[in-house]
Amino acid sequence: MSDSKAKMGYFCSLVPTEIIAAAGYEPVWVKGKAEMTAAADARMYPNMCPYIKSLFTDAAEAGGSAFDGLVFARSCDGVRRLYDVWQAYIPSKFTYMLEVPKNADDLAVTYFAAQLRDFASQMGKASGREVTVPTLRKAIKDANAARSKMRELYNRQSASPLPMAGSELFMQGLAILHGDGAKGITATRKKPVAEGAAAGSRKKTRVMVCGNVMSRPDIFQMIEGSGADVPVADVCTGLRFFERIVDEKGDDPFLSLAEAYLGVPRCSRTAAPAETYARIRDNVNRYDVNGVVLTALKFCDQQLYDIPYLLKKLNDDGIPVLFVENDYVFKDKDRIRTRVEAFVEMLES
């Protein structure tokens, strides 16, 4: 590999970025930018997750992938099928479909560890830099360090007044995910506790956002604009990403990675709805939350199937909840804002 800053894109937080980094690539979570997804509607099925359609459209309109390689994962039906159409229609330098088990028991962990060895081997071949145990251990350590810093910031969000506006914290996390790690971490270092947007104010109503993939601060800004705080975003690109810490001392780093990535926190793709609810409930207590905004990407089966269960549980436990489906780019911002404002008003009253 001639360029040491070559970028390897990935779509799902179940892809161990440590292996990508150990192969000398910069791992970049790929954000879909396209708001109109006609290119994807033409090649895929319109009733697909808008994140996936956005990714496909970006690449189709650009005439190919902007990345040096892309890692797909058997995370959901949508990504599986995205891989199919991507292979057929999008010129790409390198693609890899990572096998991620849907279960999380010891059989699944062992199998996943074996898949990760293959993944590392292929990454090494693509980059020309073999993934060795020492390079992988270093990558694990670096990733843990970056995640720990964000995790520390999330931990502080249980305080009141809120140390940092939720929208700001979310965007800092995204900067790390987008491969702008230095910027994200530097920003977090520069941001002392209790100097955030909401610092020093009276105790505000606190709303937690729970969902899956998000790459825009819209929902946070809507909540904050309504006068409430967002201490935490338990989404794939938020708290869940940064809570994952890999054992640095394990005998086999591939096994350690497999255990960490199939272990908690788990999204609704792997977790049973009861586990998802238990996590929401824990975070409600941990972050002293007054209400929950549950949000799901339209057509995201993994999330949508859990919604009735979660709504019932939250209602039974007297935790106010608002469910908002989103189209990833928040085209219908005004409609959602009205609902969010009414929800916050209800919480405050």
Binding site: N47, R74, C76, G78, D84, A88, E99, K102, D306, P308
Partner: protein
């Protein structure tokens, strides 16, 4: 309600069978009988997925299998309105209408208390995410264990071992709910029986190559979905041989319906009443094959029962990348002398529909007329007879133009 529905269905089918003993009726009697049995208090009931679980493993135990998807979704065949009312109940508590109607209907039935007791709930990670998700939710509601048989994307030594390991554990769970130890020799026998049934089925698949087509296409597709309920049981082979016999007799006696166009049906066939069969009959169109209605798994090695069952799952056309599915489609096209291919696009079936354009491109390369027919398996609110008629008439026109 479902219990009553299947009890009545069983009685009327038995009466029909007395009048006209046909293998297709016998299959449906088996289905209704199994569902009725699931309501008996003295039975150990294992909820599962007939079409995506290696049923030979269950056949090795004295348990009653129950498929929540199929059980709920035969209702629209008889009353599409009643099915909508039940789906409404699920939607009222938050099930999005963007979710597959199969699962909204199953969830609604469960909420209304129509389902039988479950002792264990087994599902698989293929075909779709929704099935395993529904399995987990229903398990939580009834306080029982849900297990997802996770099927990886590719066939390798590791993936076979991984799936075989899961199947061994599942056998252990069935042992604990049934109080019955797994008899490995019985499992091997179930696999032998299943192999014989598959050989019988292959005879039928060969007969399907004959034009005019000697059987009826929709039951062929249906059998590939719920016929697997009988895998590992002697009756499966008997029924397949009966169908072969019936078909041969028809050919010998020349009692064949005139056939103008032969089509391959991709994905699912709607269970709610539609105009499809009527239009096909009127225009001499026969569905000669469904993509799942062939023996894609090959012969299983009974000496390695768990590994063989694992391999059967891994070979499913819907497992893995699109290549596996396309390979199967291309093989059918090569073997069955087809005039066209129809992909039924049920509203929320993302795993099958997302590749429909890609399949269309391959059909274009092969110069085979291809139709994406949108509709819905069970939800009449998402089905338009007028649109279906228009699409099919146009498609038939294209096939006619090439004759």
């Amino acid at each position: 309600m479902l219990n009553k529905f299947y009890t009545e269905m069983k009685s009327s089918l038995e009466a029909a069978y007395q009048q006209k003993p046909r293998a297709a009726i016998r299959v449906t009697i088996q289905l209704a009988s199994t569902f009725v049995e699931a309501y008996r208090a003295d039975k150990n009931v294992v909820w599962t997925s007939f079409y995506s679980f290696p049923m030979e493993l269950l056949a090795a135990f004295d348990v009653t299998p129950f498929d929540f998807e199929i059980a709920a979704n035969l209702l629209p065949t008889f009353s599409a309105d009643a099915a909508v009312e039940i789906m409404n109940r699920a939607e009222e508590v938050g099930y999005s209408t963007d979710i597959c109607s199969y699962h909204r209907l199953a969830a609604g039935c469960d909420m209304l208390g129509y389902m039988p007791r479950a002792d264990l709930l087994l599902s698989s990670s293929y075909f779709c995410d929704g099935k395993a998700k529904t399995n987990k939710t229903l398990a939580d509601r009834c306080g029982k264990e849900a297990i997802t048989l996770d099927i990886p994307n590719k066939i390798s030594r590791e993936s076979v071992d991984y799936v075989a390991g899961q199947l061994r554990r599942i056998a252990g769970r069935i042992e604990s709910i049934s109080g019955q130890k797994l008899d490995l020799e019985r499992l091997r026998e179930c696999i032998r029986v299943s192999n014989r049934a598959r050989r019988a089925y292959e005879q039928l698949a060969d007969l399907q190559k004959v034009s005019p087509f000697p059987y009826i296409g929709v039951p062929v597709i249906n059998m590939s979905i719920f016929g697997n309920m009988l895998a590992g049981k002697e009756i499966q082979e008997q029924i397949y041989l009966e169908i072969v016999e019936e078909s041969r007799k028809k050919i010998m006696e020349g009692r064949l319906t005139p056939e103008k166009y032969r089509v391959l049906w991709l994905a699912w066939f709607p269970v709610q009443p539609t105009v499809i069969r009527q239009i096909f009959r009127k225009n001499g169109v026969t569905i000669v094959m469904g993509e799942l209605a062939r023996n894609y798994g090959g012969r299983m090695d009974e000496s390695l029962p768990f590994e063989s069952l694992a391999l059967w799952c891994l070979k499913n056309p819907y497992v893995g990348t699109i290549e596996q599915r396309l390979k199967g489609i291309n093989e059918i096209i090569d073997e069955y002398n087809l005039d066209g291919v129809v992909h039924f696009s049920t509203d929320a079936c993302r795993h099958s529909c997302a590749a429909q354009k890609l399949i269309g491109d391959v059909m274009k390369e092969r110069n085979i007329p291809y139709l994406v027919l949108d509709g819905d398996m069970s939800d009449k609110r998402k089905y338009s007879p007028e649109r279906t008629e228009m699409l099919l008439e146009n498609f038939i026109g294209i096939m006619a133009g090439r004759k």
